[in-house]
């Protein structure tokens, strides 16, 4: 069953590339059907994990240390659900949004390739396949950032490629060293080998390479240089994917998987991650508040929110991991929604500069209300979803006796509130710019996507009800808490 995640998305990409040029309808239908079925599959995967624990699929029937395997555990199931849910919503949104671009079939093809890559990263059971899938997703995203082919987009994509390539070479170097040290590429096997040989300087060097490499992918400060340009130049649907899932799957998922499950929890590395997280929170938020370009502001805000996730995960306490993962999910929802809102505003007005906007509330009520909900949610105002994850993060910080980190988290959230209130005020309140007198609310498919996400922000608190939380997040949390037990569960049949 796990192979289906690859097959569906890759097949959709190929089909669109082959037949999509002629028929727009075909592109739309294929992409929607593919993402919908992936979403349903990931729901089923979550159900399976809850019912029967970890699932290992050996490709070609070769047993794990020898052959390639796919692993579905609680953490992967959770990430799959986030990824495929957001991509489904974005696919709906793109139906109308991509109308203004030419060569739409290429967009859908690249889009599906990106999804293939991310599904692969999440399911990969060996570290080299993780790397390959990560590159598939990255290359597709480079192309998608450049999709507008104006000077700005191309420049952003170029920067993104260069920095992405640097990151990839770090990661590859790290994998090479790891292979030389442990003589295996299977992640579970690496874990066993490290446990056997001890945690020494080689592993520390590899850790540094991985922090830099995956840190660049997840845009932690100071590795974040590519993100503001890439996020703000890409089409809004792509920005939503980049910010909503790409940086999380390529960056956070890989980082956490490697440091928690393969290398085992190490205090120095956790401390470094906590510091990086705290710096990202503050720097991202402070940079965001000075921006007047809507999408750039949202991009910086992503840096800051990723900081929260990393900060919380780096506490490595049950509550910290729970808060981090919950925030990861919530951030996917509200940040995608905000990027979709920015796309809707750009679609209607053709402009991204906050200084030229104002009074759009009357003209675009659905965009205004959904973006209001998303803003409150990201600022952590109760009862919206962001509040609950922020609550968990702060309680976790205090419980871990890190009052300083808790204060940084609070300061970050106050600044976040401030810049989102600024966004709300300048876009939706105040005087309408006469140039926008004739604008209309966006088409149905875009509205639908925004409304679904907004409802999820509103209901985010419901996930907080213990019984649902257990079903949804507990498997993921327990995977991370058990740490290097990962190896035994994956290789269980073999050893």
């Amino acid at each position: 069953m796990l192979v289906l995640f690859f097959i569906i998305s890759l097949a959709a990409a190929f089909l669109i590339a082959m037949f999509g040029r002629k028929s727009k309808l075909f592109c739309h239908l294929t992409s929607i059907l593919a993402t919908l079925s992936l979403f349903l599959l990931s729901l089923y995967a979550l159900y399976l994990v809850n019912k029967s624990g970890v699932i290992v699929y050996n490709i070609g029937g070769w047993i794990p240390p020898l052959g390639i395997c796919l692993v579905l555990d609680g953490f992967s199931a959770f990430m799959l659900l986030v990824l495929n849910f957001i991509s489904f919503i974005v696919a709906i949104y793109a139906l109308a949004y991509m109308e203004k671009y030419t060569d739409k079939y290429r967009f859908y093809c690249l889009f599906m390739c990106m999804i293939t890559g991310m599904n692969g990263v999440i399911l990969a059971g060996d570290i080299f396949n993780l790397f390959v899938c990560l590159e598939i997703a990255s290359v597709a995203s480079y192309a998608l950032v450049a999709f507008g082919t104006e000077a700005e987009e191309l420049e952003a994509a170029f920067k993104y490629i260069v920095m992405g390539a640097i990151a990839a070479s770090f990661i590859l170097l790290g994998i090479g060293l790891l292979y030389a040290y442990t003589s295996t590429l299977n992640m579970a096997d690496i874990s066993l080998a490290i446990a056997h040989k001890g945690f020494n300087t080689v592993i520390l060097l590899v850790s540094v390479l991985f922090i830099a490499g995956f840190g660049t992918k997840s845009a932690l400060v100071p590795f974040h240089g590519w993100l503001p340009d890439a996020h703000s130049s890409a089409p809004a649907a792509v920005s939503a994917m980049l910010s909503g899932v790409l940086i999380k799957v390529l960056g956070i998922y890989s980082l956490v998987r490697i440091f928690f499950n393969i290398f085992g929890v190490n205090q120095i590395i956790l401390m470094i991650l906590a510091i990086l997280g705290a710096i990202s929170i503050l720097v991202g938020a402070i940079l965001a508040i000075g921006q007047w370009d809507l999408k750039r502001l949202l991009a910086y805000s992503s840096i800051s929110q990723i900081g929260y996730v990393i900060l919380s995960l780096s506490l490595a306490t049950p509550l910290g991991i729970l808060g981090g993962l919950f925030h990861l999910f919530n951030h996917s929802v509200f940040k995608s929604l905000l990027f979709l809102n920015s796309g809707a505003i750009e679609y209607a007005t053709g402009c991204r500069n906050l200084k030229e906007m104002g009074g759009l509330k009357e003209k675009m009520p659905i965009t205004a209300n959904t973006s209001w909900i998303a803003s409150l949610s990201i600022s952590g105002i109760p009862p919206f979803s962001g509040f609950w994850s922020k609550l968990l993060i702060i309680i976790a910080c205090v419980q871990a006796n890190r009052i300083g980190l808790a204060l940084i988290a609070v300061a970050g959230s106050i600044i976040t509130l401030a810049y989102f209130m600024k966004v709300q005020k300048v876009i939706f309140y105040g005087k309408l710019n006469p140039a926008f007198d004739k604008i209309k609310e966006v088409p149905v498919s875009m509205r639908l996507a925004m409304i679904v996400l907004a409802v999820l922000c509103l209901l985010g608190g419901i996930l907080f009800i213990p019984r649902i939380l257990v079903y949804f997040l507990k498997p993921a949390v327990s995977v991370l808490l058990l740490g290097t037990n990962y190896a035994f569960t994956v290789l269980g049949g073999v050893l």
Partner: protein, 607 residues
């Protein structure tokens, strides 16, 4: 009982939702719905209060749901939330009649009522915080419905309130660390270690922001000019005071139990005193009466904090009573001020004057509330201030040297309050009519006078029968301790004496009026010769205060918003932000260097 309690939350919420989705055209329907809903809520609150007091002697916690708890304090505050909610809706039905989006306005007001009641009766910290957060949202939405500049001040208000919510969250996390419970009634933490002090200060800052104490007060004067007047009367003037002081009371009496003469008590008293003096000084020189009133709304909070800061029963009871009194007279002032604005279409003092004979009811309500806020016996403000003074004197008995300072600050603040209300009454109601004639100068529709008259009546009742009604019913039961009054003010007797005095004065006046005497026009104690151009309308009273050397310096800085923590924070953050933006020059090699540098630093740390 359980259903009754829940219905006080659900009724306004659901009817608010109905009003929210009503078509925009149905203004009358929305208004009628809101009046019915708020009245029903008020009745439910009365019922909760009455049923509770039947069991008063047995136990001060009457009945407990899993997440809600009503004790004497929350029942009494919920009662007044219901009352103010109803009065404001009633008043709005006249004042807001011609505004747009009335269905949304009433929806927000009803949600505010629901969330406020929820906040005071919830016993679970998380639930409390949720209701508290919703209040911030509705506050934003309500302020933003005002004039064109309103969104800016709404934004400021929400950033301060929402930011302080994050602090409350942090304080709550620390409380949760110190105590295994999340039920507020079960948390008792001694203020002995640093974490406890830290969490008290976080929670207290949240209470300060809500009630508008310095240094987190700056959203109130800013929104005063732009928000709709009933909103000012509703939120900053009454509900936010009730809630903010409710939180302060809960944390300092129930959760942490502060001791007299402790550092925390000193901290509260310093904040209280600064708030009293600084805000009243700002109020003295305002030209816009809503802004002037809003500075008083800040200044009065100082008394409540000072009272609670004394940490002895009489002072705390005084603080609590002052909270109630302030909510009553301050919303009365805003509402009767709103009447003036409704007719005169301006809130600039220099354009008003001589309205007393056109709007007698408004004038009398306003005057009573002014006497009350200035602490003139026999009105209610006097009684609570007197209790706070007693608290300070009690504190003096325990050996602190500072009590004369607190006492003189409180009394001086009271005198300045009286002075600024003299200015206000003179400028609006007495004095010369302004140069620009007010066309529509007549009494407002009766529906807009109901609320001010009821509130002014409460000012008198709570003053004259202070011990019999408010103290016996509301304040003393909430305290959960026995109160001893060292020098109780026998208000009924005093009232009779004052009345007799006035009567004698009136008789003397009648006798003496046979030969009247010329006096110079009274202009608030200012010297007319020095200010020949002074407009005797009253708007310019006390401008000479600005000229006093040190104060001149301070006023100037205050007008540059140098004492505004929000503006200062904004400047600091934007300063750092532009520095960071400068570093992000968009040049690829720079970013690549960062990646390398970052990696090298990490490598140095690890290896």
């Amino acid at each position: 009982m359980r259903n009754l309690l829940l219905s006080s939350l659900i009724v306004p919420f659901i009817l608010g939702l109905v009003s929210f989705i009503l078509p925009k055209k149905n203004k009358t329907l929305a208004c009628a719905l809101a009046i019915i809903a708020s009245f029903a809520t008020f009745i439910v609150c009365i019922a909760v209060f009455m049923l509770k007091s039947k069991f008063y002697l047995d136990n001060s916690y009457i009945y407990t749901l899993q997440y809600f708890l009503v004790d004497n304090l929350s029942a009494f505050i919920a009662l007044f939330i219901g009352l103010f909610g109803f009065l404001i809706v009633l008043y709005s039905s006249g004042f807001m009649k011609d505004k747009e989006e009335l269905n949304k306005y009433y929806a927000y007001v009803l949600w505010t009522i629901s969330a406020s009641i929820g906040a005071v009766i919830s016993n679970n910290f998380l639930l409390f915080l949720t209701f508290w957060g919703v209040l911030g949202i509705t506050l934003y939405l309500l302020i933003a419905m005002g004039t064109e500049d309103a969104p800016a001040s709404a934004k400021k208000a929400f950033i301060i309130i929402g930011g302080s919510d994050a602090l409350i969250l942090l304080g709550m996390a620390a409380v949760f660390q110190l105590s295994p419970f999340l039920e507020i009634s079960r948390i008792h933490i001694p203020l002995t270690n640093n974490l406890a002090v830290f969490s008290f200060i976080c929670l207290a800052l949240g209470a300060f922001a809500k009630s508008g104490a310095m240094p987190l007060h700056t959203w109130i004067p800013d929104s005063a000019e732009t928000a709709p007047t009933p909103v000012m009367a509703f939120l900053p003037a009454s509900l936010d005071k009730l809630l903010g002081i409710y939180l302060l009371f809960r944390i300092s009496v129930n959760i942490f139990d502060i001791q007299p003469n402790s550092a925390i008590s000193l901290f509260l008293m310093i904040i209280g005193s600064i708030t009293i003096i600084a805000a009243v000084m700002m109020a003295l020189v305002q030209h816009n009466f809503k802004k002037l009133l809003s500075y008083h709304a800040v200044s009065q909070v100082g008394y409540m904090i000072l009272g609670i800061g004394t940490a002895n029963p009489i002072g705390i009871a005084g603080g609590l009573f002052h909270m109630l009194n302030n909510a009553v007279y301050k919303s009365c002032l805003f509402l009767s001020g709103g009447n003036v604005e409704y007719r005169a279409k301006t809130d600039d003092l220099s354009k008003l004057g001589g309205l007393a004979k056109f709007m007698p009811v408004t004038f009398i309500a306003f005057a009573i509330a002014s006497f009350s806020i200035s602490g003139i016996p026999p009105f209610n403000g006097f009684v609570s201030k007197w209790m706070i003074y007693q608290g300070i004197i009690e504190l003096g008995k325990t050996g602190t040297k500072l009590w004369p300072l607190w006492l003189s600050v409180a009394m001086f603040g009271s005198a300045l309050t009286l002075a600024s209300f003299m200015k206000l009454i003179h400028a609006i109601f007495l004095g010369q009519p302004s140069a620009k004639k007010i066309d529509d100068a007549k009494e407002v529709p009766a529906v807009m006078n109901i609320a001010p008259v009821i509130l002014a009546g409460l000012c008198i009742i709570f003053g004259v029968w202070a011990t019999q009604i408010p103290l016996r019913l509301f304040i003393v039961p909430s305290m959960q301790t026995h109160l001893t009054f060292s020098g109780m003010w026998n208000s009924s007797l005093a009232t009779i004496l004052i009345l007799v005095g006035l009567l004698i004065g009136f008789i003397i006046y009648l006798l003496g009026s046979l030969k009247s005497r010329e006096v110079r026009q009274f202009i608030g104690g200012e010297d007319l010769e020095k200010n020949p151009q002074m407009n005797p309308s009253g708007a310019e009273f006390y401008n000479t205060v600005r000229e006093i050397p040190l104060l001149q310096f301070l006023y100037k800085r205050a007008e540059e918003k140098l004492f505004d923590i929000y503006e200062m924070g904004k400047r600091a953050v934007f300063g750092v932000s532009s520095l960071f933006s400068y570093l992000h020059n968009g040049i690829l090699p720079t970013y690549c260097v960062w990646i390398l540098l970052g990696m090298i630093v990490i490598m140095l740390v690890i290896l």
